[in-house]
Symmetry: C2
Subunit: 282 residues, 2 copies
């Protein structure tokens, strides 16, 4: 996973190579510390469909740039108001809010630039990826999920399990599924197995996040523990209980792994990743 993250950072770094200034620095900073989870999904899904890492590197860079943009904006005082992210100060705390707004904006832009400029993809592949990335990350996907999150925080009654599942499918799930399916999308192959895998993995990952919010070690997760709970926010743990949430995550990991059967042992790394999603400590 570290290799895929490094590949994504290299692609972003090349696109930013000639740029000085605080916004570019903040763009590099906010893409430096991630696990490379989405880049790894892109890389593995592509490998299963015969696409090399060289060809896919700009796509891995793009998804990590989109993910970083969403975190930088989500951490803003008017959104989640977070001081720490990945064990370091959030962008608006290290610089200021204006730099954070611009760095997030620039990271979203560079994602589309990276795909449009990719050397080893043909134009049809690029437009398929760009169209689907826009739908997964915009008002139809991630931004829509972020809005549901804000609406839920404002109202008195907590979310139901259906609502929180729908929220997660938009806020974090859509990009995870996009990452897992980029390979078959590029080859115009059947996306169903990796879509099932991505949908289940994304939800399992979010449930595991909620569990980590209760049980995690702040020195490992890089953020405060009990934060969501302290805000009276509905989470999978508050709705299902700690054991129920862990059980649900494990079921989803099984669903994700089952979806990969047609790929045989070639998909072992994706199977490992699914297990890691719920066993990780950060």
């Amino acid at each position: 996973m570290a290799d895929a993250g490094a590949m994504a950072r290299r692609a972003i770094g090349i696109a930013l190579a000639d740029i000085d200034g605080e916004v570019a620095e903040a763009m590099r900073y906010s893409t430096a510390g991630g696990k490379g989870f989405r880049a790894f999904l892109v890389s593995e899904g592509a490998r299963l469909h015969g696409i090399s890492n060289d060809a896919i590197a700009p796509v891995a860079g793009a998804i990590e740039a989109i993910h970083a943009y969403s975190l930088v904006h989500d951490d803003l005082p008017c959104m989640d108001d977070d001081d720490m992210r990945r064990g370091q100060l959030t962008v608006h705390r290290k610089w200021d809010e204006a730099i954070a707004v611009l760095a997030g904006d620039g990271l979203q832009t560079i994602a589309y630039q990276l795909i449009a400029d990719a050397d080893d993809l043909i134009a049809d592949q690029k437009t398929d990826l760009i169209g689907s990335l826009a739908r997964a990350s915009g008002i139809h996907g991630m931004v829509g999920g972020q809005e549901m999150d804000i609406v839920a925080e404002k109202r008195a009654e907590p979310m139901s399990i259906d609502e929180i599942t729908k929220l997660q499918a938009g806020k974090t799930g859509a990009l995870i599924t996009w990452s897992a399916t980029a390979g078959p999308v590029l080859m115009s192959s059947d996306i169903a197995p990796l879509k099932t895998y991505g949908d289940a993995l994304g939800l399992a990952f979010q449930i595991a996040d909620d569990v980590l919010d209760i049980e995690g070690d702040p020195s490992a997760t890089g953020k405060a523990v009990g934060k969501d709970e302290g805000r009276g926010k509905a989470t999978f743990v508050s709705l299902l209980g700690l054991d129920g949430a862990k059980r649900r995550a494990t079921e989803l990991v099984d669903t994700a792994i089952d979806a990969l059967h047609s790929y045989d042992e070639n998909a072992d790394l994706l199977r490992e990743l699914a297990r890691f999603a719920v066993e990780r400590d950060r």
Copy 2:
């Protein structure tokens, strides 16, 4: 120009057709009141290269979405902190800052979605437009210019004429030139005449904006007068004087019009637009 603006709004409206909620409402709201200046440039530049309005409508929608996103984020309290825009409340004043951040994010995304999904363009045309739009609007273009603006506000000495020209070329000029050149980019034709036109027009337009900040009627411009001056911000007027700024804008309009000679009378609407850029009252 009103027709091109309406065409752009229709394209954005179609992309948002099935979406409820405050963020989508704010996205429609912030694209409703514009002059359609950039959409008109796209439409006219395309017509000069034999491209129909039907084919170009999603591209017109995309540039107006990018422009609206930049205004919504630029109006935020941490940026320019504006309450009024186009004669109506800014998004963060009508809703709140979180909605404004998300609406701007979603508008940027939908721009790329509109081009990627355009029915009447081929994939090579789409990727050329998307790549150039990303470079014009991101850290290499508009976002880079916005950063220069922030840096200039923080430091003690006012900007020089070279600095403010470079700032403008990024902050507003890059997207105006992109709009003017979308037609030849789509047809892989020579972009030089429309690039010269767009570069000169963009700068003339910004100088006229600075003049309007001093001389404008707030009921026509839809924003407060003397605002930049009140902040001690260097503008083309503070650097060149009111008469000098007007003279410079007129020279640039001449440059813009001269660049169109190869298009004969087909480019008369673009000539008119260049004159309008410095004669407008809002």
